[in-house]
Amino acid sequence: MAIDENTVRRVAHLARLALPEDRLAPMAAEINGILAWIEQLNEVDVEGVEPMTSVVAAKLPMREDVVTDGGDARKVLANAPKSEDGFFVVPKVVE
């Protein structure tokens, strides 16, 4: 299934990746090359096969609902591009 420039533009928006207009066609071509190669998966008989979601046949482990970490704002903010008064400073989120 080949994708066109419009699809690349839409997917780039979903991924919040800025793609300059002149990169749309080359990226579509590269991705199409990969998708064409992936098409062969349609040959496999997967009738009645469960999708493999986990490598280990294990149940998700549970734990006691107690606080065991956190509470150190300095550490959390240590790598912030911009912070002030114990908050992350970010562009306006709500219009």
Partner: protein, 491 residues
Amino acid sequence: MSDLNKLTLSDALDGLAAKKVSSVELTDAFLGAIDKANPHLNAYVVVAHDKARAMAQASDARRLRGSTAPLEGAPLGIKDLFCTEGVRSTACSAILGEFTPTYESTVTANLWRDGAVMLGKLNMDEFAMGSSNETSCFGNVINPWRAKNSNAPLTPGGSSGGSAAATAADLCLAATATDTGGSIRQPASFTGAVGIKPTYGRCSRWGIVAFASSLDQAGPIAKTVKDAAIMLTSMCGHDPKDSTSLDVKTPDFAKAVGKSVKGLRIGVPKEYRVDGMPAEIDALWEKGIQQLKDAGCEIVPVSLPHTKYALPTYYIIAPAEASSNLARYDGMRFGARKAGKDLNETYKATRAAGFGKEVQRRILIGTYVLSAGYYDAYYLRAQKVRSRIAEDFTNVFANVDAMLTPTAPSAAFALGEKAGDPVQMYLNDIFTVTTNLAGLPGISVPAGLDANGLPLGLQVIGKALDEETVFAVAAALEDAAGFAAKPGAWW
């Protein structure tokens, strides 16, 4: 004592225990070797001179007080995918900027608990996406090996190119690495080192920058099978902070090295003999088969019918999981930020500026195959094919104890040689991705040199949680191959 850096991990540990050498002496020897070699090889992206010396001094002090910790005093290199507290960790991506973790990954914490010393952070493909270490924001790693009569720079393989190059060039006793599609085993093969990816869940992924969560596993790259076993024992262990971490005991893997392989049934999967495979690699594989026969193994031809679908399956699942894992790099809470006119523009500008081309390509593919309308056709189908691939292994392992295959479809190639077509680069992982998809342990052992004098590796695949058999077979191959070649130091 100018050759301290050439010791194996095992010999160095013996020397440290016998007080023939101190951790400070060893560490200084490595720091000297790194300062000389790194401008040429670019294996390290951070050399932690002060921290290494401080850790070495602390180790020598602990030894005076009677410490017998398993890695006491051993200087190691750490792939930049592991978060190391107080030392910049970037996954070799510009998007992480000067990110300096305020926590330690569980695997590296285990190494420091066992007394090891950190020399620095090792170069790698950006976000572990690559098979040649040509996508790092810090530049390429150069393989210490060169082809006969040539000065052309070769790739050390990837994504753990720095780990492999540093181990091969004696710039650390051993290194940590990670493997999602072959990123430990293929670089080990390209550099004449030993590299093992354990069973999924043996090593904790907590504190390791995530690429594809159902495939990623940490493991060592080392100079010998015994060294790799010593490293893996320290790295493994249940971690309640990683819900995919297996709650199983870690055996002393070094005890399996040297165990007799007589009577073991070794499967040789016919689908791994691919079209266009270089005759030399086929010959090396045949030689390995004969060596195991001579050691008393029974060779069993087997079939893994869905092998050819493994790579395309991987290239749906891995990018899909990566697109989810890399969504956190948004410039808001850590890493680099590139301002845009509003929130969305800031996200887009930050991610476009911070991620390299290969990473962007995989994020886009991943986003596409997970998007509405395409999820069933691609991702769900790939998950089902994955079940089939895992089933192939379960069926074969009912009848054999381990399998022998080549590690990579070629020796180390020239930088830039495969840069044109992404699929050409992806084919590097053809023999290794199956074990990631099935969650099984796999090791690469250097088995010989090709006509150009470049190392070639053989891979042993084992049953889930049976690294001991993997190590025993690998050690038998290592013994038989007698691979002692080292790259001539041209730096």
